[in-house]
């Protein structure tokens, strides 16, 4: 239905155009992600001085279906996403989006305070703020001159 009857190779052309756009500006294949196919959600970890910030790309997930666990310095994100209707009446052309249960764990580089963890979900991105444990915070040591 989406296919144009006049031009059967539209899809190949589109793909090539997309590839060109990707390779045009950057030398590396930035359109492709570095993690294995099926990794969901994709995670980033940032250091914001007194806290660690983890972002997870998980669009279309109901915040109620997200389960977040911090045990020592291990963070686990799990949940489920129903991407498309499972209906016999429906004819699919593409199913590229992840669907089903997911669970990912990462060990954080520093100890965090599990009681002070905050998480917000906005525009499909889960942002988790993990304040560092007192002993992991950077301290500057003053040197006394004698």
């Amino acid at each position: 239905m989406l296919l144009s009857k006049r031009y059967p190779f539209w899809d190949i052309e589109r793909t090539l155009e997309e590839m060109n756009r990707v390779f045009d500006v950057f030398s590396g294949p930035v359109g492709l992600r570095s993690m294995p196919v099926g990794t969901f959600p994709a995670l980033n970890v940032y250091d914001a001085g007194d806290k660690l910030v983890v972002t997870a790309e998980m669009p279309g997930v109901d915040p109620k279906d997200i389960d977040l666990n911090v045990v020592e310095n291990n963070l686990t994100i799990s949940g489920k996403r129903d991407a498309a209707p499972e209906d016999q009446q429906v004819q699919y052309y593409r199913r590229e989006r992840f669907s089903g249960q997911f669970s990912r764990s990462i060990s954080l580089a520093e100890k965090v305070n599990p009681d002070a963890v905050k998480a917000t979900y906005k525009n499909g991105i889960l942002t988790i703020e993990l304040p560092k444990a007192q002993e992991a915070k950077p301290r500057s040591i003053k040197i006394k001159a004698e």
């Binding site: 989406l2 997309e18 756009r21 940032y46 910030v53 790309e57 279309g60 199913r95």
Partner: protein
């Protein structure tokens, strides 16, 4: 003087489409399915808000563009995803009625529903007995 003008023109001819910032453009993952009266597209565009998405239909091409406005700390410890915008194009058939497009953006997922033209919708023909 004439030579200078000529140089200017040549440069203008080869100017490529300029982007305000050099950042990657990703192709959003899509689910596409068809029902009796419409085609639905769902595109994953995490980080794109309802005001940052643009949907265009022109000469049989549907173009979707989403801009990500992300504020993340500078020090990256680990990264699987890069911050970038989303763009994807689809060719759409003449059998779809482009006046009947609805678009909603929710939790980073863009849902587009395009109605089919009346002539291609399945019809039930009632047989009348004489």
């Amino acid at each position: 003087m004439a030579e200078k003008e000529l140089t200017k023109k040549t440069q203008a001819d080869v100017t490529r489409r300029q982007r305000p910032e050099e950042r990657p453009i990703f192709v959003p993952a899509a689910d596409i399915w068809e029902t009796d009266d419409a085609i639905t597209l769902k595109l994953d565009m995490p980080g794109v808000g309802p005001d940052d998405v643009e949907v265009n239909v022109q000469r049989g091409t549907l173009r979707v563009r989403g801009t990500v406005k992300a504020e993340t700390p500078e020090t990256v410890l680990y990264a699987e995803q890069r911050i970038g915008d989303f763009e994807r194009e689809f060719a759409i058939s003449e059998d779809l009625d482009t006046d009947k497009i609805t678009a909603t953006m929710n939790a980073g997922v863009l849902t587009l529903t395009i109605g089919k033209a009346d002539k291609v919708k399945p019809r039930k023909i009632t047989v009348s007995a004489e």
